[in-house]
């Protein structure tokens, strides 16, 4: 038996760290070398000497934070070596460019899931099953009350929500990278044919997606002084940070909604302050997490990013899979 100290990857200062390669995964503070799973800001920090990611993640990051970061890129599946460890990126289905990261050292395989989902999403590569000995998985939605509907059903609900109130301006709040593009892609396949506007931050990401070869419906960049009549019956995509405060005063006669996995719970919907919630997520639901744990064939599983207590107990009782805890 190995002791915890000898694990190839462990938790250090609240971040995943591989001592042998002296490399950090999605670190929250500046380090020498950082592997980045995807371009969401909670997986990235400024000031690292060197970043390593997929090509798409690198481009999205530079779009978001500027060109002056040093970043090395690899294709999905392409192996590279650091201190004798073979490392490779594999699609995680979360957003464009998102990846799982595999480490192989002395015939021992480690897999960091990154943020992932199994649901179909035409704006990024489908999750790839990767076999491993050790799995470090996220578990944001690790309870069986989370069971996602097909995304086209949600898109149809959104379409109905807009068209049922033709006299209103419908503001849909969603994360500007990933969720917004996925929604645009799905909504363009529904009966809703009205105008779609998007906030600058979302508009920018749409363009990046297009540059990377993803077909995203054209939207109009929202100007602050749009005539209210023009906006009637149309859809406006905005980042959640604008839902509080004075920004909404730019609009009259609005209805608001938030697109997030948390919206499947009525109490959270009510508390969110939005009129409506659409339960759509770029993370795996309960079944998705279980499927990945099983199909990865991992003998040892760690969870992070979420409450893992119930999930761990369930895996032990039902699947005899032992879930390990990082010493932090």
């Amino acid at each position: 038996m190995r002791t915890k100290k000898e694990y190839l990857i462990r938790y250090k200062d609240g971040n995943l760290y591989c001592e042998l390669a002296d490399i950090w995964i999605d670190p929250s503070k500046p380090v020498k070398k950082a592997l980045i799973t995807h371009a969401h800001f909670d997986h990235f920090t400024f000031g690292c000497e060197e970043y390593i990611s997929t090509k798409e993640t690198a481009i999205l990051l530079k779009e978001r934070v500027g060109d002056n970061i040093k970043i090395k890129t690899f294709e999905y599946g392409e192996e590279f070596k650091i201190n004798g460890i073979n490392i490779s990126f594999h699609p995680s289905g979360h957003i464009l460019g998102s990846s799982q990261i595999r480490f192989i050292f002395a015939e021992e395989k480690w897999l960091i899931s990154g943020d992932f989902k199994l649901q179909k999403d035409q704006t990024c590569k489908q999750y790839e099953i990767v076999k491993t000995d050790y799995l470090i998985s996220e578990c944001t939605f690790g309870l069986p009350i989370f069971k996602w509907d097909e995304s086209n059903k949600i898109a149809n609900d959104i379409s109905k929500w807009i068209t049922n109130s033709p006299e209103k301006t419908s503001l849909l709040f969603c994360y500007s990278l990933g969720k917004a593009q996925r929604l645009l892609n799905e909504i363009s396949q529904t009966n809703f044919k009205g105008n779609i506007y998007s906030h600058g931050s979302i508009h920018k990401m749409n363009n990046s997606y297009r540059k990377l070869g993803i077909d995203i419906k054209d939207t109009i960049k929202i100007e602050n002084k749009k005539k209210i009549d023009e906006l009637k019956g149309s859809l406006i995509l905005l980042p959640p940070s604008l839902s509080k405060g004075s920004y909404l005063k730019n609009f009259k006669n609005i209805q608001t909604a938030f697109a997030s996995g948390w919206m499947s719970i009525r109490a959270l919907r009510k508390r969110s302050g939005y009129d409506k919630g659409f339960a759509i997520s770029d993370h795996a639901d309960w079944d998705g997490i279980l499927e990945v744990v099983k199909k990865s064939e991992a003998k040892n599983v760690f969870f992070h990013h979420g409450d893992s207590e119930a999930l761990s107990k369930y895996l032990l009782e039902k699947e005899s899979i032992n879930v390990l805890l990082f010493s932090k």
């Binding site: 309870l143 069986p144 009350i145 989370f146 069971k147 499947s264 719970i265 009525r266 109490a267 959270l268 919907r269 009510k270 508390r271 302050g273 009129d275 409506k276 919630g277 309960w286 079944d287 207590e309 119930a310 107990k313 369930y314 009782e317």
Partner: protein
């Protein structure tokens, strides 16, 4: 015409904020569904369906048994969701993929008059099978409403007033008439629905209509510039504001929320019907301490409000009184346009006549409000501060020349509420909330110093903003000392300003004091726990407001 349509309505009402839109959605629903389902919908929406066919616990056990789900996992989910019916409906999404379609378009009427009542005739095994069968044949977005009806927990965020308003607008019948017709034992049927929307209004219905209520505004400084003699002063009671109407021999009690509450207070209806005149009185209903001649706490009144046809012993245990403030109509003559000071003369005149001339004694259930006569504004302030002693909330100040108009009209009536009492206390326990606060730690307990020990003195759950609740929740999770079930004991570190309405000695509490309506009024991030108040400070407050406690 189905549970499906009703589930959609439930979802819509849940996600619409504007009252007008809610009314539109309700109108459309009533227009597009048949009378029998409409009558059931009204029955559900007005909260008349609180019968519990099975308990939430039973529902969770049943799910666990059928689908071999560990009970602890369901309980964990419940902590996140805060509602048994909803937890099961969410978990069912994972389980009922094979659709049999048979029930998929069941009408509300069939569900509520046949399917669900039939459950209670089955033995446990059959009942469980039948519920499983219903679960597996209902479309998944109907599960929530079904489970809620089953567990008697169906509620939706619309008031009875809004339902009656929608029906009233749709069929062009006055709202008070609809309220009157919905009162009491509304049994869903085609007949009851046809009666509800019948445009022919009978005399008794017409006679029961209340006037729009006139409401008081918060005190404004400019009032102090006026002569004290321009105003009438009354105590502000903390009861149910009500119009007591007697016309053509029939008595009706209307709350401000357009609710007819005759059935909750039959003894008042009975007594008042002996008075020979017809009248409309504006006043307050209270549970009354006849010995001390002051009101009991509102909490006692709550024991009466929701109880229809109270037994004789309940009536004795919680004796009510109606205190009239104003006379609005007398023997068919609307006197609302007469000046307040003259209406008051009429009120006093008729009250003394009724006391003498009515065969039964009415003064054990009905009186008119006493007036207060401060000699100047500082004196008024002194009266206001004294209001704690007689369990009132402060003063109501009314312009003597005002007429009785409607709504919160500016510049004629004011409320002058007593300031809350406050102590700075230390947060020591937190508990998970339920309902819309599920998943967050929102119920807090606070302590005061006694020597070097912190002694719990109050619990509160309201007063913080959503943002503060989230921030505090985070802090709580990081600073837990111990967990006992849903409760966590916390590192003493956070100080809060707790306000309350009343403080008194209590032998039942470890701290020896009890406070009423404690609430958080400020998160004192500027204070360290050593700055928090002590029990000594609390006793001083008691001394200040209840001299009599210490004389004994």
């Amino acid at each position: 015409m189905s549970l499906k349509k009703f589930s959609e309505l439930f979802g819509d009402l849940d996600s619409i904020n504007s009252t007008n839109n809610k009314i539109e959605v309700l109108k459309n629903y009533f227009l597009s569904n048949d009378p029998i389902d409409n009558s059931w919908a009204i029955y559900l929406l007005t909260g008349k369906s609180n019968k519990r066919f099975i308990s939430g616990r039973y529902l969770k056990n049943l799910f666990s048994q059928i689908y071999e789900y560990p009970q602890w996992l369901i309980d964990t989910c419940y902590l996140k969701v805060g509602d048994s019916a909803e937890v099961i409906s969410l978990l069912l999404k994972n389980k009922t993929n094979s659709r049999k379609k048979k029930l998929s378009n069941i009408s509300l009427n069939e569900l509520l008059s046949e399917t669900i009542p039939a459950l209670s005739k089955l033995n446990e095994e059959e009942k469980n099978l039948e519920i499983k069968n219903i679960w597996e044949t209902l479309p998944e977005d109907n599960h929530l409403v079904f489970n809620k009806i089953l567990t008697g927990t169906f509620r939706v965020g619309v008031s009875i007033g809004l339902i009656t308003k929608s029906i009233s607008k749709l069929f062009n019948i006055e709202q008070e008439i609809i309220s009157h017709r919905l009162m009491g034992d509304f049994k869903p049927s085609i007949d009851s629905y046809e009666f509800l929307i019948n445009k022919n209004i009978n005399l008794q219905e017409l006679n029961s209509k209340p006037f729009p209520f006139l409401l008081a505004n918060t005190i404004e400084d400019k009032i102090f510039k006026n002569s004290i003699n321009d105003f009438q002063f009354e105590w502000k009671y903390d009861g149910i504001r009500m119009q007591l109407i007697k016309r053509s021999g029939n008595v009706s009690l209307w709350t401000r929320g357009q609710e007819l509450v005759n059935e909750s207070f039959p003894e008042l209806v009975e007594k008042m019907s002996h008075i020979k005149d017809d009248f409309v009185l504006d006043g307050e209903l209270l549970v009354w301490n006849f010995k001390e001649q002051i009101a009991f706490d509102f909490s006692l009144l709550q024991k009466r409000i929701n109880r229809k046809s109270p037994t004789r012993s309940i009536q004795i245990k919680y004796p009510i009184i109606f205190i009239a403030y104003d006379l609005l109509e007398i023997n068919g003559r609307d006197i609302r346009e007469i000046k307040l000071e003259n209406r008051r003369i009429e009120l006093e005149k008729y009250f003394s006549k009724w006391q003498i001339k009515t065969e039964n004694n009415i003064s054990d259930i009905f009186k008119i409000c006493d007036l207060i006569f401060p000699k100047d504004w500082p004196d008024a302030l002194t009266y206001k501060e004294k209001s704690r002693e007689n369990n009132t909330e402060g003063l109501i100040i009314k312009k003597k020349t005002s007429i009785y108009s409607s709504g919160r009209k500016k510049g004629i009536w004011w409320k002058y509420k007593v300031d809350p009492m406050q102590l700075d206390a230390v947060l020591i326990y937190a508990k998970g909330g339920s309902g819309r606060r599920a998943g967050l730690y929102t119920d807090y307990s606070f302590a005061l110093w006694k020597d070097k020990e912190l002694i719990k003195f109050a619990s509160a759950y309201s007063g913080l903003t959503n943002i503060e609740i989230k921030e505090l929740d985070k802090w709580i999770r990081k600073n837990t000392i111990e967990k006992f079930g849903p409760v966590r004991s916390l590192k003493p570190e956070m100080v809060f300003e707790i306000s309350f309405e009343k403080i008194q000695i209590s032998k039942r509490h470890k701290s020896g004091i009890a406070v009423r309506f404690p609430r958080i009024t400020k998160w004192r991030k500027d204070k360290k726990i050593n700055d928090a108040d002590s029990l000594e400070n609390a006793y001083e407050l008691i001394k200040k407001y209840h001299e009599k406690y210490h004389e004994k």
